[in-house]
């Protein structure tokens, strides 16, 4: 009965209801667009830096992350493998050997991160093969390398040119090798493209003198949101000799940057929703004020004050939820458009983004949580404002209201 009354009551003053609905919808649209753009940037950052390179979780020998040397590499054995394979959240793993080396081209030298990787596993889990922009992807037995596009440009080298790698191998041995370039790869993160060289893992083990040892085991997850859970589950199983880290530990700067940026977004949303709250509160005051007489009659004929308050509260909640739904429906196609057609920045802006190691584009996010969040916020606001009629109706005097 109350729901029916509330529904009919909100359409008694159509213009006011439509204006309130429009105000809520516009706030939700702005809020969704802002959150979608921001989350899209975060997702892109994470995808560029984490998905393409570090992975969402890693296993190392204990102490490796603080002192990244080949000497802290990990002896990979069946025990580690069985623990990794026992987790249902882990889709697979790919071993790597990562170490810095001096790269020498004909006339140029540069420090670079040389990554020994299993070409088949990287292809399967990271689609690394899709990043080849020139030449060919590595195969397991190759004695060649793939070079990041930025690094190749710096060194002024291309396919079939030769690079000399100089580094320190296991237990202080020297590592030196000469490799032809088989492919040029380009990452979403320009920073990665400027510093990565890929070697097949067998060749990397020979280069660094580490047989059956790896520096990092990259864990590939079915759901990247499970990274923390996976690390928490795996840590006690692998024991103190190993460290298991999720992406937030692997890239704390990125995590902090996103967290700081999110605060800025929350402040904007707070201001936006404060404005809406006042709008809804105004509507509520109007509802209460212009229907004093009617409320007096309802109390006179036996309607409890609590029911009366619930009826007015329902009116506000219905308007708010309708506004939120309309806002989400209107915002969705805009978000979808910019999801499939990302905004690419012009040169100056692109440079700023690339300085942060991020691809210079904004691809909106279509994460359903963004839309659900707005509905929940609006609901919380209307519940909060809805407390007002509960207070107000407790003091309603039927006689006075009927004279109003």
């Amino acid at each position: 009965m109350l729901l029916k009354l509330a529904w009919r009551n909100i359409w008694r003053n159509k213009s006011r209801t439509i204006i309130t609905l429009a105000a809520v919808s516009v706030a939700v649209i702005l809020s969704v667009l802002m959150m979608s753009a921001k989350n899209g940037v975060y997702e892109n950052m994470i995808k560029s830096l984490i998905g393409d390179y570090t992975g969402f979780a890693q296993v190392h020998s204990n102490g490796y992350w603080d002192d990244k040397t080949i000497d802290n590499s990990l002896a990979f054995n069946d025990s580690i493998l069985s623990q990794i394979e026992s987790s249902k959240l882990i889709e697979g793993y790919s071993p790597r050997i990562e170490n810095f080396a001096l790269v020498v081209a004909e006339n140029m030298t540069k420090g670079a991160m040389v990554i020994g990787a299993d070409p088949e596993k990287e292809k399967r889990y990271n689609s690394l093969n899709e990043r080849v922009i020139k030449g060919k992807y590595l195969s397991e037995d190759d004695k060649q390398v793939m070079v990041g596009a930025g690094l190749a440009e710096y060194l002024k080298v291309t396919i079939d040119d030769t690079l000399v790698l100089l580094s320190q191998g296991y237990h202080g041995s020297s590592a030196a090798g000469k490799y032809a370039i088989k492919g040029i790869i380009k990452f979403g993160s320009p920073e990665l493209s400027k510093q990565l060289i890929f070697l097949p893992i067998k060749e990397a083990q020979l280069f660094y003198g580490v047989e059956n040892r790896y520096t990092n085991i990259i864990l590939h997850l079915d759901n990247t949101d499970d990274a923390k859970l996976v690390t928490e589950q795996l840590r006690p199983k692998l024991g103190k000799n190993h460290e298991v880290m999720d992406w937030e530990e692997l890239a704390p700067d990125l995590k902090n940057m996103i967290a700081t940026d999110k605060v800025e977004g929350y402040i904007f949303m707070f201001i936006l929703y404060m404005v809406i709250s006042f709008g809804l509160f105004g509507t509520m005051l109007m509802m209460l004020s212009e229907r004093k007489h009617e409320f007096g009659v309802l109390i006179a004929i036996g309607m409890k004050r609590l029911k009366l308050a619930i009826m007015v509260w329902l009116e506000l909640v219905i308007i708010s939820i309708l506004g939120a739904i309309a806002g989400c429906i209107l915002a969705f196609p805009i978000c979808a458009y910019f999801y499939y057609n990302p905004i690419y920045f012009s040169e100056d802006m692109a440079d700023i983004y690339e300085d942060f190691g991020i691809e210079a584009m904004i691809q909106f996010s279509l994460d359903p949580n963004i839309f659900i969040q707005q509905g929940v916020i609006i609901l919380i606001i209307s519940i909060g404002i809805g407390l007002f009629p509960f207070i107000k109706t407790q003091k309603l005097d039927a006689i006075k209201q009927m004279r109003a």
């Binding site: 009965m1 009354l5 009919r8 009551n9 359409w11 008694r12 007489h293 009617e294 009659v297 309802l298 109390i299 006179a300 004929i301 036996g302 309607m303 409890k304 004050r305 029911k307 039927a398 006689i399 009927m402």
Partner: protein, 229 residues
């Protein structure tokens, strides 16, 4: 036992000059009565009705409905009491504008948590009783003043109250509608034994009431039982 009994009932409205709206009223209204409380404007008719109906509280004195002292009830208990024992008909109808005639009549029964079957049966009967069986789905704005007041009477009776209080029920109606409404109320009084107490200064109502109580400056100056015209 009287349905309504007041004892030395007083109501004073405080202000720069305090106004004594009801002054020492002793009144007994029995079952089946059809009583008009009359008097000039400001004589205290509506205030007396409001106190009897539990909408207002007296400054002193007591008011009992079916031997229950209303002064002893809290505000929330009074709301429940009104819902169960008293039907109201207001001068300006006061129907809920977004509900149809049927829904307005049904409303108090919903507040009483009456079953669907009972509601349907009673609402149909009441709307037929007041001659609005063909207007059940009309909203108040689609009805004339007289029709709205008949819906108000049906609503007042829907909760099966001990008595109906009507504040100037014919004041906003034309002669024909007023006569029609009076016919309905008198028939309900005679055939179903429903007690009606109304404030009025409409001579048509006064002429048809069986008991006429006249107030002046808050005091009862006459209480006459008359033959029905």
């Amino acid at each position: 036992m009287s349905v309504i009994e007041t004892n030395k009932l007083c109501k004073t409205f405080e202000g720069v000059v305090p106004v004594k709206a009801v002054d020492n009223v002793d009144l007994k209204i029995e079952n089946d009565e059809f009583t008009a409380i009359v008097g000039p404007s400001g004589s205290g008719k509506t205030t007396l009705l409001n106190i009897i109906g539990g909408l207002d509280r007296p400054t002193s004195g007591s008011v009992k409905v079916n031997d229950i002292e209303l002064n002893n009830l809290s505000d929330n208990e009074l709301i429940k009491f009104r819902l169960k024992h008293i039907g109201f008909v207001f001068q300006s109808y006061n129907l809920i504008p977004v509900l149809t005639a049927r829904e307005n009549t049904e409303f108090v029964m919903l507040l009483q948590n009456t079953t669907v079957e009972e509601r349907n049966e009673r609402v149909d009967a009441l709307l037929k009783e007041v001659g609005l069986e063909d207007k059940v789905n009309s909203r108040p704005l689609e009805l004339s003043g007289g029709q709205q007041q008949r819906v108000a009477v049906a609503r007042a009776l829907a909760s099966k109250p001990d008595f109906v209080l009507a504040d100037e029920p014919t004041a906003n109606l034309d002669s024909k509608s007023a006569e029609n409404l009076l016919d309905i109320m008198l028939r309900l009084n005679k055939e179903e034994g429903i007690t009606f107490v109304f404030s009025t200064h409409d001579q048509r109502v006064i002429d048809r009431a069986r008991r006429v109580i006249t107030l002046e400056d808050g005091k009862i100056i006459s209480d006459i039982t008359q033959n029905e015209n």
